[in-house]
Symmetry: D2
Subunit: 381 residues, 4 copies
C-alpha cells in the first residue's frame, strides 16, 4: 500500500531550486508524510542548464516555458524558485490553473504585486505557501511554542538583524546569473526585500503585527557594471536598511540588514524581551535557543543555552540522536513536511501568500519611510 503521489513542477534551478528539490527528495525518508512528492518537471528558459539540473536531481522531465508547465495535467504543485520579477505572473497563472502554488520569498517585488497574487490564489482556492524557511528552524519553532504558552509575559522589545558582507567589493557587477539580487528591476529592492523580509516574517509570527515604522536605507556603492548590458549603471537597490518599529502589542522593534557588515556571512539574529522571559536566536548557531527565565531562582538565573537536538524538540525526533545537529537545508525539509501534511488535512500551511503579503506591506512602509524621512503606518495593520 503505497502513498498517493504529488507531482512537483519547479521553476528555477538556482540556489533555491536546489534547496527545494532536496527538500522534496528527502522529506518522506524522515517524515511520515501523507503524500510521496515526485520531482516531475524542472522548468527554466536555459534548456542546457535545466537538463543538467534534471539529471542531477532526478526530475522526470524538462520544460523551458513556464506556461507549458502550468498547462500540464500531471503537475499538482507549481513551486516557484525563480527570480522575484517572475513570481507574480507565474503564481497568478498557476493559481488560475488550479495548481497548488509555492513561492520563494518575497512573494512579489512589492505589495502591489503580492496583492494581485493573493487575490488570484484565494479566488482559485488553491493551497499556497511561501518559503520563509526560518520559521522551521527547530529553535525558532520552539521560541514560537514559548510565546504561545505565554512564557514571555508582556513583550517590551523585539530586535532582529541580518548581516552579510558579500557585496563590499566595488568590482562585483550587478544583474544576470547569480547576481539578480543586485538588480533592482528584478529583485524589487535590495536587503529590504531579501533579508529584512525574513526578519519581519519571523517577527510578526512571534510578536504580531507591526503598526508603524521609521527607516533609513543606504546604497554605499552607487554604480556597478551591469552584467546584462555590460555598462556601468546606477545601483538601484538598498545595500543596507534599518528601521524602528512600533508593534501593535505596544512593544518596540529595531531591525537592520546589510551586505556590508564585514565578518558576517549570514548572521540573522533575533531577540525578544518579555516581562517574564527573554529569548535569543542566531542563524550562525542555529541549533541553539538562548532562553532567560525570570522565574528561575534568583541566584541561579542565567541565559540557558538550549541545544535543540532532543527528541521532544520541534522536528528533531525525525533526525538523529540527542546532541547531533542538523543544518540549514533541513528547514526546507520541515516546511515540505508541514506542507504535505497540511495538503492532506485541508489546512493551508503557513506562511500563506496572505501572510507573506503582510510582510510586503512592512517592507513597502520601510522603503517609503526611508525615502520620505518620516514614520509610515503599515498598510493593513
Amino acid at each position: 500500500m503505497s502513498k498517493p503521489r504529488l507531482n512537483i513542477g519547479i521553476v528555477g534551478y538556482g540556489f533555491m531550486g536546489r534547496t527545494h528539490s532536496n527538500a522534496f527528495r528527502q522529506v518522506s525518508k524522515f517524515f511520515d508524510v501523507p503524500y510521496e512528492p515526485v520531482l516531475k518537471a524542472i522548468c527554466a528558459r536555459n534548456r542546457a542548464r535545466a537538463e543538467s539540473f534534471q539529471q542531477n536531481w532526478g526530475y522526470d522531465s524538462v520544460e523551458t516555458d513556464w506556461k507549458s508547465l502550468i498547462e500540464r495535467k500531471d503537475i499538482d504543485v507549481i513551486d516557484i524558485a525563480s527570480p522575484n520579477d517572475t513570481h507574480a505572473e507565474i503564481a497568478i497563472a498557476a493559481a488560475r490553473a488550479g495548481k497548488a502554488v509555492l513561492s520563494e520569498k518575497p512573494l512579489g517585488r512589492n505589495a502591489t504585486e503580492s496583492q494581485a497574487i493573493v487575490e488570484a490564489a484565494e479566488k482559485a482556492g488553491v493551497p499556497n505557501m511561501v518559503w520563509y524557511n526560518y520559521r522551521r528552524v527547530p529553535a525558532v519553532s520552539l521560541a514560537k511554542d514559548l510565546v504561545n504558552e505565554g512564557k514571555l509575559g508582556r513583550v517590551f522589545h523585539y530586535r532582529a538583524k541580518f548581516l552579510q558582507d558579500w557585496t563590499i567589493s566595488s568590482d562585483l557587477p550587478q544583474g544576470g546569473e547569480g547576481l539578480w539580487r543586485l538588480d533592482a528591476r528584478v529583485a524589487g529592492s535590495g536587503v529590504t526585500g531579501d533579508l529584512l523580509a525574513h526578519c519581519i516574517d519571523t517577527a510578526m509570527w512571534l510578536n504580531g503585527p507591526v503598526d508603524s515604522v521609521a527607516a533609513v536605507t543606504e546604497t554605499f556603492i552607487k554604480e556597478r557594471k551591469h552584467n546584462l548590458t555590460g555598462k556601468i549603471e546606477p545601483v538601484g537597490i538598498d545595500d543596507a536598511s534599518a528601521f524602528l518599529a512600533r508593534f501593535r502589542n505596544g512593544s518596540l522593534g529595531t531591525f537592520e540588514a546589510t551586505r556590508y557588515a564585514r565578518g558576517h556571512k549570514a548572521l540573522y539574529t533575533l531577540e525578544m524581551n518579555g516581562a517574564d522571559a527573554s529569548i535569543i536566536w542566531d542563524l550562525s548557531d542555529l541549533h541553539r535557543l538562548q532562553y532567560f527565565d525570570h522565574g528561575d531562582k534568583g541566584t541561579l538565573r542565567g541565559w540557558r543555552s538550549i541545544h535543540i537536538t532532543d527528541g521532544d524538540h520541534p522536528y528533531m525526533k525525525h533526525w538523529w540522536v540527542p546532541g547531533l545537529q542538523i543544518g540549514y537545508e533541513h528547514t526546507f525539509i520541515h516546511q515540505a513536511a508541514d506542507f504535505l501534511s497540511g495538503m492532506a488535512g485541508g489546512i493551508v500551511p503557513a506562511p500563506t501568500f496572505r501572510d507573506a503579503l503582510a510582510t510586503d506591506y512592512v517592507t513597502d512602509a520601510v522603503l517609503a519611510a526611508a525615502k520620505n524621512r518620516d514614520w509610515q503606518k503599515v498598510a493593513g495593520a
Copy 2:
C-alpha cells in the same frame, strides 16, 4: 622626594561617589602619576551620610553645602558625583572659582544646561572632564587605536545598545535616594541621558560626529509612586529609547537603550563594520575585544577573541600578569590616571565638557525626533 598633592573635594556619596573615591585612592598605587590625589572633602546635604562616607573612604573633612566646598582654598578639584540636576549650578560656580572641575555624565540635563557649563569652564580656563568611563576600558581603548591606525578602512556601520532590566516591576517607586534616575525633573531624561549617552560618547569618539537621527522612545509604565511626595505620579522619563543615525562619515548607526530587557543587567555592546575589519565589544565581557580582519588568509578568517590582559594592551602593564582580568571600577582609575597626567602636562584630558556637550546635542536630537516623529539634524554637527 614626594609628589605634589592635589586636593579633591567630591560632591555626592552615591554609586559614583564610591567609584571616584576608589579611583583617587588607587591610582597612584598602580600608575606613576605626577600628583598624589588627596581625598580632602566630601560634600553632601545629609551630614550623617556624608560622615559615614568620609569615615569609610578616609576623607579629611565633611561639607554639607557645596558653596562652602567651592570657597575653600585647600580644594584643587571639584568632582561632581551628585544627581544630574545639580551639575550645572555646581560646575559653573566651581569653574568661576578657578577649580578644576570633573563631572559625572551626562554633563547637564540637556544641551542648554551643558552649553552654560561649557561656557563657564572655557571662560575660566579650568581643566574639565566628564566621567564617560567606558572609553578607558582597555578593550575599547584598543579599538580606538585600531580606528586611528586605519585598520577598519571605510566604515559602513556602527551599532550600539545598552540593555538593563531593573525597572520592569511596577512596584518600583520613582524619585528619592537611589532612585532619582527615574525622576525626570532630576535626571532630565530616562535611558536616553543615562545609557544612550554612554553609547553616543563612545560612538563619536570612535566614528566621528552624528549628523542626524530618527528615534522612538517609550514609557512602558505610565505611573509610579513618587518617593518624595508619597503619591502616584506620571512617569516623565523614557524607559526605552532607540534611534537610527547617519554619521557625518557616511556610515549608518543603530542605537538602543532600555531598562526593560529581561535577562540583561548592564549589556552595553558596540560593533563597528569597516571595509577592512570589524570590531565588537561587550561590557559583560569587558576584557575581550572581538576583531575580524579581512586581511587574514581566506580560509583562516574568523572573529578573534582578544583577551585584553597583556602588558602591551592599553593600561594593562599597570595591573597583574597576562590572563588575569580587571573589573569595572578600573575604568575610573584609568581615567583618574589620565586626568592627573594631563593636569601636569597642561593637556585637557578628554572627554572634556565640550566633548560631553556634543553628546548632549545628540540626546536632545533623539528626544526631539521621537517627539516629532521626524528626522532631526544634530546641533553643531
Copy 3:
C-alpha cells in the same frame, strides 16, 4: 552518458544504517562522484523491520541472512552497520568473497578480532574503510590541513573528550534492540570502544601514533536489567574511561569519555597546542574551528572563531552559500564521496581497516592499563 553503478548491500537498519543509507542516496546529488551508488539490498534478521527500512529508503531487495547477501553477484559493496559482535565474521567473509567492505567503528570488539579482519581484507586485496566519520567534519579536515602545512610547529599537547549523559538512570536496561552498546558481549567495551575510539582515530590522524598510556575506567551502575534475559545482570562495560598518553612525537595527551556527564549529549571536543599555533574543535559547534596563531601581531592575537562555511573550506563548495551550515549526517556523505572517488582511482580511502586496527591497539592498551593500574605500551607503536 550515465555513471557506472555501484551496488550497496547494507547489514543493519539501526542508527548507522540510516546515516549510511542517507549518505549513499545524497552523495551524487552534491558531489561529482565517479560511481552512482545503488541501494541494492538491506540485510537484517528481523524481516519485518528490514522491509520497513527497505521501503523507507528505497532499497531494491531484502535479505535476512548476511551470508546470502555476500553470495549475491549483484552486490559490489558490503556495508556493515550492525552491532560490533557481527563485524568480524561478516567482514572476513565479505572480503573473502571479493567485495569491497565498509564497516562501522570500532572495527572489532578488540584488536584480536580487528587483526583477523585486516588480514582477511588485505589478503583479498579488497577496498576497505571504517566509518570514523568525524575526520570529514569540514572543520576537522581543515585542522588536518593546518597540521600538514606545519602551522602548529612542535606539538606539546593533545586533549580530547567525548561526554554524554544518556545512561545515568539506573532504570535503563542493558542489551537488546537499541541498547546493545550497554552489553559488553556485543559491544566489546563501553565508552572506550564507542567514544574514545573516535577521539583516538582523530588524534592519531592529526598527531601521529600513541606510544603508551595510563588509564582509569569505572562502571558507576554495577547491575542493570538485561533486556534479552529479563534478569538483573552485572554490567560488563565501562561507563567512563580516561587516559594519559605519550605520543611518539613527544607530546602529551589526555583523553576522557563518559556517559555520565550531566548536561552533555554528545560533546566531543579536541584541542592541540603547538609552539606556533593551537586549534580547538567541538562537535556541539561542529561548523567552527577555533584557531590561535602566535604569528599574529601581539596586541591583536586571539582565538579566531572560523565559521567553516566558505567555498574554499573543505567540502563546503558542494553545499549552500557562505554562512549557512551543514549538520552531522553530512560527514557520512563526505566519507561516501571520498570512498567513491577513491574506488575509481584505485586509492584505498582512509581510515582503512589497518588504520582502525591501530585505534583498537590503543583502546586495548587503555583497558589493560586501567585493569593493571600501570602504563601500557601500545602494540605496534
Copy 4:
C-alpha cells in the same frame, strides 16, 4: 569609635606582595570587617626594592631580615609572599613567635616541609591561612554553595585544567628575580606545585579527598640558562603535569596543567558532573558560572550562563551594581575579609595550613606516580 587595628608585616614585594598589599588596603573600604589592617612593615633582603615598595603601598617601615620582622612586638600578622623555599623557615619561626601566619601557596615545597609548618602552627595555636585565592571567586563560592545544598546529587566526574603558555621560548632563562618559579630548588616543582595545587585545592574543597592518582609529567625544554649562575643548566621543574584521580566519594578526576598551551595565558577551568546538575567555571570568564540543572523542564534544559554580579551572589553586595564585574585581585580582598572576620570570631579561616598540607600530599603523590609510572595512594587520604 574606631576599629581595633591589626598590624601586618609582609615578606616579599613580588606579584603576590602586590595582591596582598592591595587586599589589606582595600578590604575595609568595601567590607565591614572587625579589624582595620595596617600595612606596618615590608620585609625583603633588597633594601632599595623594599623601600620602593614601601613608598608605593604606604607601609610604615622596612625590614631586610625576616627574623627582625618576627621579633617586632608591633606586628600581629606575618604574611609570607616570598618564594616557596622561604615559606617553611619563616612560617615556623613566626608561629613560634605567636604571630598569626598567612602564606602564599603552595605551603611548602613538598609535604614534608608543609607537615613541619602545620605542626609548628598547630602547636603554637596561631591563626593560619594559605592564599588559595580562587575559592573566593564569587562564582566558585556559589559553586560550593550548590554542592553544600546537594544540588548536584551523586558526583561522577571532576575535571580541571590550568593552561598557560609563557615558557615556550627556549630563550627564557630560569631562576632569579621574577623567574624563580622555573628553578626547582626554589619552587620545589614546576606546574604541579604552581598550577595543579590551585586545581587540587578547589577540587577537594568542592568534591572531597583524592584517594589515588596516576600521572605524567614532562619537561619539554631540558636546559635553560640559569640567571643566578649565568650557566646553561638542566631544568629541574616539570613544564607540564597531568593526572587521573579517584576521589574518595567514588567519582573520577582528570587534571592537567602546563605552561606550553599556546593561546592560553591563565586558563583555569573546572567542571563537576553530578547526577542532578553540573557546573563549569573558567578563570578567563571568572564572573560567570555555567550551571546545568537536570530538574529543569525537558525541552528547556540548557547550560545557564549565570552572570555573578547580583547583590545576593557571594561577596557581590559589597561591590557595584548588578551587571558590573570585578576582577582577579578581588579574590584576595575577599579572603582578607574572611580572615579578619574569622580572627574576631575565633574561627580559623580556611584554607588553613592543614588544608594546604592535604593539597601537598596530592602533589607529592602526583610527582611520585609520574616518576614510578604507577598509581599512588595519597597520604592521609
